[in-house]
């Protein structure tokens, strides 16, 4: 097999060598517990403080507003559960295309008496801020809308939603797991009160993330224990992971504009070429799309088969088809865009990243049309 083409960067990314390098001392000799008073812990303590400053500066926050977590999922859980458990307001507004880290958390919170309004999206997968505004009630504790969608790449109007939330005095949380490190985020300009991010989506390590909590936000803790992270998130800190997160975010922020432009060009080349396949359709918007993410549906074939065939041809991609998930239901995101079950079964997501090359895209474009054709030839529901 030739070089394996990794086109599933929305699932996870390769750790940047620079991030790995920065992490190594803290997996080795610098193992002091940052909470300890002795000088042996100074290195890890300083590294963590520097990491916090880096993260804060990238998103326009103050260092003490950054809380490190085990990842994006924990950050989402913390933001939502923390907001509704703090006070008496028990209403949450969210969108139909959120990640399960948000939707399943809310499903669980409903058992605590939380009421949830789920706002739909248009056929491009974009939330209408006016619908959010209309859903606000006196008892609305928090609005949670993702910055960009993981399946169809649609970038949400979070600055507009943030302005609405601020005006109404409602907390605004954004799950920026797919957006951080890829598109500009500024918690001040966008009026964001809580923001989740995850290191492994921007070439940092898996198992570490952060939650930005605006100063003065009324949010309960999620994890109790030794009072680390200024009592906001207990548990001995994952120093190496935190250092890796900061290094990767710093790298991503430094060349966000040029990388964004490079990936957008590659993405649009994929979209233009792939849409030449008969009965192929783009999911998500043409504009306002994550730079590296291209997503499609193909009539007459099923997504998991397509992903397995592409794997045999040396390409890693993913699908929102029912058969590619444990639940056997197609992706809730594709259904929220108005796609039928039938169409959603034939979905494919190709997501490029920092290490994707022109040659990778050449290989994808050289392989995909014949793969689709092969699967259609054995499909009982496809007619040329």
């Amino acid at each position: 097999m030739n070089k394996y083409v990794y086109a599933d960067n929305a699932a996870t990314t390769r750790l940047a060598p620079e991030a790995l390098e920065a992490m190594l001392p803290f997996l080795g000799e610098q193992y002091g517990n940052p909470s300890s008073v002795y000088s042996f812990a100074d290195g890890p303590r300083r590294a963590m403080a520097a990491a916090r400053e880096t993260v804060a500066s990238v998103i326009g926050a103050k260092p003490d507003e950054v809380v490190f977590t085990s990842g994006g999922t924990e950050a989402d859980n913390h933001a939502l559960a923390g907001a509704v458990r703090f006070g008496s307001k028990k209403h949450v507004i969210t969108s139909a295309i959120e990640h399960h880290a948000v939707l399943h958390t809310l499903k669980k919170l409903k058992k605590e008496g939380v009421e949830v309004t789920v706002v739909g999206v248009n056929s491009d997968g974009i939330v209408d801020p006016a619908e959010i505004a209309a859903a606000i009630r006196p008892d609305t504790a928090i609005i949670s809308v993702m910055a960009a969608n993981n399946e169809v790449g649609s970038i949400q109007p979070i600055a507009e939603i943030g302005a609405i939330a601020r005006e109404k005095g409602v907390l605004f949380h954004t799950d920026a797991v797919q957006a951080a490190g890829h598109i500009p985020l500024d918690v001040e300009r966008m009026n964001i009160d809580l923001l989740s991010l995850s290191a492994h989506k921007f070439n940092g390590p898996r198992g570490v993330g952060a939650l930005y909590i605006r100063r003065g936000s009324r949010v309960s803790t999620l994890i109790e224990g030794g009072g680390q992270e200024k009592n906001r998130r207990s548990g001995t800190e994952n120093v190496a992971g935190i250092v890796g997160l900061a290094k990767a975010l710093e790298l991503s922020a430094a060349d966000m504009e040029s990388e964004g432009a490079r990936l957008s060009t590659l993405r649009d080349r994929m979209i233009d070429e792939i849409l030449k396949i008969p009965d192929s359709h783009l999911t998500g918007p043409k504009e306002n799309r994550l730079p590296g993410l291209a997503s499609f549906t193909f009539g007459g074939i099923e997504g998991e088969s397509l992903v397995l065939r592409l794997d045999l041809a040396g390409i890693a991609a993913s699908s929102g088809s029912a058969c590619s998930t444990a639940s056997l239901d197609p992706s809730h995101v594709l259904l929220a865009l108005g796609l039928t079950h039938e169409v959603a079964h034939g979905s494919l997501r190709l997501s490029l990243g920092r290490y994707s090359t022109d040659a990778d895209v050449d290989h994808i474009l050289g392989t995909l049309p014949s793969t689709v054709k092969l699967l259609r030839a054995m499909s009982p529901v496809w007619t040329e």
């Binding site: 099923e302 397995l308 239901d329 039928t340 054995m378």
Partner: protein
């Protein structure tokens, strides 16, 4: 996620395609569920002389169809009717739990085609074949509620 045997049948499916001179054709599953299997048989003197399949579905759906065709080719109708989904799973050296329904579909596709064979001769297949396929293709879909 799949056994080597499943991947073998997925990547090199046996007996795939349309059988132009089939005298028994059955289709089970539905698009909403995400799996459709179409089975073409050529039955001569009570023997399954030839078989082809077409499948819209996941890796397991393709592999179970392929394996089912191998297991019934050259067999008598009676033996083909004895094909169970667990025999297909066993021959594939196992399937993930959420994919077992694909093997059920493969069994039903064979039965559906044989039912068609009887129907073409004016014989009611129900007493012979029993469930003629597509009984409840989505039954394995677990819509879990916490």
């Amino acid at each position: 996620m799949y056994t080597d045997k499943v991947m073998d049948h997925f990547s090199n499916p046996r007996n795939v395609g349309v059988l132009e001179d089939a005298n028994a054709v059955g289709q089970v599953g539905n698009l909403k569920c995400g799996d459709i299997m179409k089975m073409y048989l050529k039955i001569e003197d009570g023997i399954i002389a030839d078989v082809r399949f077409q499948t819209f579905g996941c890796g397991a759906a393709v592999a179970t169809s392929s394996m089912a065709t191998e297991l019934i080719k050259g067999k008598s109708i009676e033996d083909a009717l004895k094909l169970t989904n667990s025999a297909v799973v066993e021959a594939l050296e196992g399937l993930p739990p959420q994919k077992i329904h694909c093997s059920v579909l493969a069994e039903e596709a064979v039965k559906s085609a044989i039912a068609d064979y009887y129907r073409r001769q004016g014989i009611d297949p129900t007493p012979i074949v029993g469930c003629t396929g597509d009984c409840d293709a989505c039954h394995a879909h677990n819509h879990e509620e916490e």
